[in-house]
Symmetry: D2
């Protein structure tokens, strides 16, 4: 299953002294995958937030399991597999592959963050976002 | 409880267009916290790996819950709270605080990765590392 | 000469497969040094921009010469040495040191970017900023 | 003129609180462009270094002028335009474009770094690299 695929060729500078991808870069690529999906299925993050009166579609939780290493020159496909919608959050599921080899599976739980009456940010219902992304 | 504290003042460039810390940077800081701990309780990652015949003390899994946002100028304390030792992995537990406010709690599960007879990397028993870090 | 010093202990994740600092990180640290200076000599970037009606104190040019390598564990001092003020730009001069050893010298040329009548961003006179940072 | 083009769609996380690309990311992309060129015109950095007895093709100097901003969703083409070869260094010239609009022009001066008899790293003649890249 796949809703969107982000492709990235791993570069020297993505890797650490052990010669494999420095793991925070995987978070950078899952985030880029999510934002690519938003542009592919709608007007992109900025316009979506304007429509929804939101400050951002930010992170509540992240989890990743690293299955095999990636090195300079590897062609990585970061797959946004599915989204599980809850009341005030949604979970985006990812798998990263190099060819057939699984590199990573994981998720980001995100919310639609809006400013409340007291000025503090809170997580709003996600139904309008879900409907918009169709 | 605290085994090590990494301090970082959040800077403009750590933040995204919503004005809050771009979340992969938190992974960068947990990693830096772990490596700071290795230097504080031993000879540091490179020398430790040489002693243990390891290629690296790399990631198997990561999980983080984002509790409140951090912005430019915030003084962040990333606390390495504890390590849970298993047979061939260990889980490093973190909390990030700005003053008394909780920003993040999470963990990294890491292994001691050594080259096997077939040249492939595998997770070795972690007891020697545990003993070395005392 | 020194207007501000930003200290950073180089970590494993800052380094590339050659084991030395991946160079874009130096830009990250000069930027953090500039923003630390803004907080040290004034109210910080966000408040300064609000005062000046500016969108940001952004980059027009950068130049760096890399004099010697830095590795995991090195204690780096990024020194903001001086600022050369022009009419609509200012040049911030840096040196990075590990102990007495020069690692880098360089500069960032920045402007005070304001929205013009046509909505486009342009570089405003820097005199108000200079006066404010005193 | 163009020896290689690296394409990147700017993502939310590449941008700073002013909503434009955080400038160290441009250095990340010039570095990725150079390494993409090495894979396109030869066996890539790792194998090239093994052939040349080099530790890396590292940075001696960098310079960039920022001509116009880039934002989330922009399709950036980072063009490696030419290489100027000297005796013990080479200068790689870049232009970044969004459509016809110039975003950045700049250069990286790099060397072929080899371990000397005393164990210290020094810049070797670049002629063998030049010949290999043809």
């Amino acid at each position: 299953m796949s809703l969107y695929v982000y492709e990235h060729t791993v570069s020297f500078g993505d890797c650490d002294p052990a010669g494999i991808v420095y793991y925070p870069n995987f978070c950078d690529w899952t985030d880029a995958t999510f934002h690519g999906y938003l542009r592919d299925h709608g007007p992109g993050h900025r316009s979506l937030c304007a429509e929804l009166g939101a400050r951002g579609l930010g992170l509540m939780e992240v989890g990743m399991r690293f299955r095999s290493p990636a090195v300079d020159g590897d062609r990585l496909a970061m797959v946004l597999e599915s989204i599980d919608w809850s009341e005030r959050s949604f979970r985006v599921n990812y798998r990263a592959l190099i060819g057939d080899r699984l590199v990573l599976d994981g998720f980001e739980t995100r919310g639609v963050f809006v400013p409340g009456a007291d000025g503090r940010i809170r997580a709003a219902p996600v139904a309008p976002l879900r409907q918009r992304l169709g």
